[in-house]
Amino acid sequence: MTTLAEPRHARPVSRGLITRVTDRLGSGVVQIFMILIALFWLLPTLGLLVVSLRGETENNSSGWWTLLTKPAQITFENYSNLLASGFSSSFWNTVLITVPATLLVIGIAAMAGYAFAWIEFPGRDTVFLVVIALLVVPVQIALIPIAKMYGFLGIFGSIVGVVLFHVAFGLPFAIFLLRNFFVGIPRELLEAARMDGAPEWRIFATVVFPLAKPAIASLGIFQFLWVWNDLLVALVFADTDNQPMTKALQSQMRQFGTNVDILAPGAFLSLIIPLVLFFAFQRYFVQGLLAGSVK
C-alpha cells in the first residue's frame, strides 16, 4: 500500500505546499468578498430601519448612517404618528385578506391534489397539464374581466373579492406542489386504509393530510407571503376602507420626499411579520421554493 502510494506522493507534496498557501490566501479573499456582499445586502434594509427611527428633521439634514456616531437620534415618534393616523386598520385588512386566502388555498388544493394523485378518473393527466400551464399565467390577464365580474356580483372593492382572487391564482402552484408530494406517499398506507373500507374522505383527512404537514407548511408560508406582500391585486380590487398595508403605503409614494416619515415605518411594519415567519419557517420556505420554482 505504501509502496504504491510512494511514487505519486513525491509531486503532490511540493504542489500541496503551494496550494495550501494559495488556498489560505484565496479563502481570505473569499471571506472578505463574502463579508462585503453580505453587508451590501444588509445595508438597504438597515437603512430603512434607521430612517424609520429618526425624526423628520434629522432625516432631512443628514444621512441615516450618521446614527452610528449619534445614537441619541433614535425616536419612535414616526411609529406612534403612523399608528395614530389609522395605519393599524390597513394592518388588520392585510391580516383579514391573508389568513383566509392562505387557509382556503391549502384546503382546496389539498383536495384537488389528492384527487390528481390518488383517484383515477378519465382525462386526469390532461387536466393536470392545464394546471401546470396555469402556473405562469400573469395576474394582469384577469384584472379587467374580474373587475367586471365583481361589479356584476357586487363584491368589487370588498375583502371577499380580494381573497377569492388570491385563492384562485394561488391554486395552480398549490395543487402542483401538493399533488407532487401526495404521489410520493407510500401507497401501502392508502391501500391498507382502502382495504379496511375507510371512505375516501376519511383517508384524506386522517392518513394523507397529517402526512403532508411539511408540504402544507411550505405551501402555507408561500401563499401567506405572496398574499401579504401583494400590491397589484389590492390596488385594483380593494377600496380605501378595505385596503391592505401595501396599498395604503403606495398611496403615499407620490410625495416620497416629504412622506419618508410615514413610508419608512410603514414599510418596516409591513415586513416584520413576513420576516419573522421567514426566519421561523425558512426550512419549509426553501423546500417549497425547490418544489415549484416555476411561478
Binding site: M34, A38, T45, L48, S61, S62, G63, I108, A112, A115, A117, W118, I119, E120, F121, L129, I132, L135, P138, Q140, I141, A142, L143, I144, P145, F165, A168, F169, L171, I175, N180, V183, G184, I185, P186, R194, E200, A212, K213, N229, L231, L232, L235, V236, L263, A267, F268, S270, L271, P274, L275, F278, Q282, R283, V286, L289, L290, A291, G292, V294
Partner: protein, 548 residues
C-alpha cells in the same frame, strides 16, 4: 455516499416508484397496462406481467449518477439553517423526494409518478365521481378566475376603449406603433436580456463561494431575506438608497466618497479672476492663468473673486509668499468682508484658498505641479530658471461631484434592475446551492488530484453538472422578469415612469391608472400572456419528461 443518499428515500417517493411497485402491479389491470407501456418504452410486450421490474426506473438508471443524487440530496441541502436535520419518519424523507425533482433534477423523477398514475389497482380505486367532488372547488375557481378571463380578454381586446365599437386588431397594432408602448417593449427587452443572466450568474458565484466559508448559513439567510420582503417595501428601501442628495441616499454617498478619494477636486465652483485690465490673472478656457509671464524669485499674485464668505469662513488668512528660490505665489480671495481693502493686494482680513492645484507652464507644456497651502501660498521647488505662465486648471472650479441621478430618465431602468437583483439573487443562490450539494464530491476531488485548477474544476465539472438547475433558475427568472410590475411602479417617480415603463405596468396604467382604455389594456395583457406561453410549454414538457 450512495447509501447516505439513498437511505432516507426508502420509505418515500422513489421507493414507491422502484422495487415496491413492481410486485404490486397485478395483471388484473388491463385498462392501465397499455398506457404504462406506451408512456415509457412503447413496446407492448414489456407490460406488467412480463416484466416485474417496472418500466419507469429504466430511464432513471440510464441517467448519470449525478442527477440521481440530486433528487435525494435536497432533503439535506435545501434547508438554509438546519442543513443536516435527520428525516423525521417517512414524511420528512418522502417529501423532498417527491417535490424537488421538478425543480432541481428533472431527470431523476422518472419513476415517481408514472406508477402513481398508471398502476393503481382497479379494485381499490375510488370512483371518478369522487374525484369530481374533490376537484370541483379548485376547477371552478381556476375556470372562473383564470380561464374565463383569458377568453374574455381576447374578445375585449378587439374592441375600443369603451367597449362599444369593434376595432379588430388595431389595439395590437398600436402596441407596436405607439411610441410609449414601444418604450415599454424596449424596456422589457432590456430587463429580459440583463436581469436573468445577472441573477443566475450571481447565484452561481455565491453558491460556489458559500462552500468555502464557515458562516455560509448566515450568508444564505442574509441574501435570501429580501425574498420575504414585499416588493413595495423593497421599492421604498431602494427609493431611499437612490436618493439624489449624497447626504441622504447611500448609493450617492458611497459614490461621491469614492470619487472624491480619487480626484482631488477642491471645489471652488464660481471662483474667477476680476474681469478688468488691472487683474494679474485672466480666465482662459476655464482655467485661470497669469496675464504676465512669471519668473522664479518674484512671487506671483492670483486674486480671485466670486466666492461667498461662508466658503472661506474657516480658511487661514492669506499671506504673501516669500521670495527667494523657485517660483512661488499666493492664491486668495481678494474680497474683504464688509468691503474695503486694496484690489489685487493681500489685505490682512483676506483669506487664502487652500488645496488649489497650480501648474507652471512653459511653451504650452506643464513643467511642474503643486498645491496651495492653507494660507494660499504655493512654491515650485527645483524649477529651472526662465519665465513661466502660472495656471490654475479648470478642475479647481468645477462644481463638486454630487453623485448620479439614479432616478432620472437615463439611469432609471438599470437602477430598478439593481433592486431586482437584490431581491432575487438569494433565490438563485439557494436553488443552485441545493443542486451543487448534490454533485458527487468524488468527481471534483478526482479532478483536483489530477492537477486541475479551481477555475478548471468550476468551468469543466461544476457548471456542466449544474446546467439543469441553472436552466430552471434562468427560465424562472425570465418568466418573473416579463411580469415585473411592483418594483418599477414603486421605484420610478411619477415623472420618469414613462421612461421606466414595462408591459405589466403599462397594462395597469392604461386600464386602471387613469388611462381608462380597457380595450388596449386587454390587448396588452394578452400580449403579456403570449410572451409567457413558450415558458408554459417549457414547463409542460419538463413535467412530461420527468413523469416519464
Amino acid at each position: 455516499m450512495t447509501e447516505r443518499l439513498n437511505g432516507p428515500q426508502v420509505p418515500g417517493g422513489d421507493s414507491a416508484a422502484g422495487p415496491s411497485s413492481g410486485p404490486r402491479e397485478t395483471p388484473a389491470d388491463p385498462s392501465l397496462a397499455p398506457s404504462a407501456a406506451g408512456d415509457s418504452t412503447g413496446s407492448p410486450d414489456s407490460s406488467a406481467e412480463a416484466d416485474p421490474e417496472p418500466v419507469a426506473p429504466e430511464p432513471a438508471a440510464s441517467e448519470p449518477a449525478v442527477s440521481k443524487a440530486t433528487a435525494s440530496e435536497p432533503a439535506a441541502a435545501d434547508t438554509v439553517a438546519t442543513a443536516d436535520e435527520p428525516p423525521a419518519g417517512p414524511v420528512a424523507a418522502g417529501y423532498p423526494t417527491a417535490a424537488p425533482p421538478g425543480a432541481v433534477a428533472p431527470a431523476a423523477t422518472a419513476g415517481g409518478t408514472a406508477d402513481g398514475t398508471a398502476k393503481a389497482p382497479v379494485r381499490l380505486t375510488p370512483s371518478p365521481r369522487l374525484a369530481v367532488l374533490f376537484l370541483l372547488p379548485a376547477i371552478l375557481l381556476m375556470a372562473a378566475w383564470m380561464i374565463y378571463p383569458v377568453i374574455y380578454s381576447i374578445w375585449r381586446s378587439l374592441y375600443d376603449a369603451t367597449g362599444d365599437r369593434f376595432v379588430g386588431l388595431s389595439n395590437y397594432l398600436s402596441i407596436f406603433t405607439d411610441s410609449s408602448t414601444l418604450t415599454t417593449i424596449r424596456n422589457n427587452i432590456i430587463w429580459v436580456v440583463v436581469a436573468p443572466v445577472i441573477v443566475t450568474a450571481l447565484g452561481l458565484i455565491f453558491a460556489v463561494l458559500t462552500e468555502r466559508i464557515r458562516w455560509s448559513t448566515a450568508f444564505k439567510l442574509v441574501l435570501f431575506m429580501p425574498m420575504a420582503v414585499s416588493l413595495l417595501a423593497a421599492g421604498v428601501i431602494f427609493r431611499l438608497v437612490y436618493e439624489q442628495d449624497p447626504d441622504k441616499g447611500v448609493a450617492n454617498a458611497v459614490i461621491t466618497t469614492v470619487h472624491d478619494a480619487f480626484s482631488s477636486s477642491a471645489g471652488y465652483p464660481g471662483a474667477r479672476p476680476r474681469e478688468n485690465d488691472q487683474a494679474p490673472a485672466v480666465l482662459r478656457d476655464g482655467a485661470v492663468v497669469t496675464r504676465q509671464q512669471a519668473q522664479p524669485g518674484t512671487p506671483v499674485l492670483i486674486p480671485l473673486v466670486g466666492l461667498g464668505q461662508d466658503v472661506v469662513k474657516d480658511a487661514a488668512p492669506a499671506k504673501a509668499a516669500p521670495g527667494g528660490d523657485g517660483l512661488s505665489g499666493t492664491v486668495w480671495l481678494d474680497v474683504v468682508r464688509g468691503g474695503g481693502g486694496t484690489l489685487n493686494q493681500i489685505d490682512p482680513q483676506e483669506k487664502g484658498l487652500a488645496g488649489i492645484t497650480v501648474e507652471a507652464v512653459s511653451g504650452g507644456a506643464v513643467k511642474a505641479t503643486t498645491e496651495t497651502a492653507a494660507d494660499g501660498t504655493f512654491r515650485f521647488s527645483g524649477l529651472p530658471a526662465g519665465s513661466y505662465e502660472v495656471r490654475l486648471p479648470q478642475d479647481n472650479f468645477t462644481a463638486a461631484f454630487n453623485g448620479l441621478t439614479w432616478l432620472g430618465p437615463s439611469l432609471i431602468t438599470p437602477a430598478i434592475i439593481g433592486a431586482y437583483i437584490w431581491v432575487w439573487a438569494g433565490f438563485a443562490m439557494v436553488l443552485i446551492a441545493a443542486g451543487l450539494s448534490a454533485i458527487p464530491r468524488d468527481a471534483l476531488e478526482a479532478a483536483r488530484i489530477d492537477g486541475a485548477t479551481e477555475w478548471q474544476v468550476f468551468r469543466k465539472i461544476t457548471v456542466p453538472l449544474l446546467s439543469p438547475v441553472l436552466l430552471v433558475v434562468f427560465v424562472t427568472m425570465i418568466i418573473n422578469v416579463l411580469k415585473v410590475f411592483d418594483l418599477v411602479f414603486i421605484i420610478a417617480p411619477g415623472s420618469v415612469q414613462p421612461q421606466a415603463n414595462v408591459i405589466a405596468l403599462e397594462m395597469w396604467r392604461v386600464s386602471f391608472g387613469g388611462g381608462g382604455n380597457q380595450g388596449m389594456g386587454s390587448a396588452l395583457s394578452i400580449f403579456l400572456l403570449l410572451l409567457v406561453v413558450p415558458f408554459m410549454i417549457f414547463n409542460i414538457r419538463r413535467f412530461r419528461r420527468d413523469e416519464g
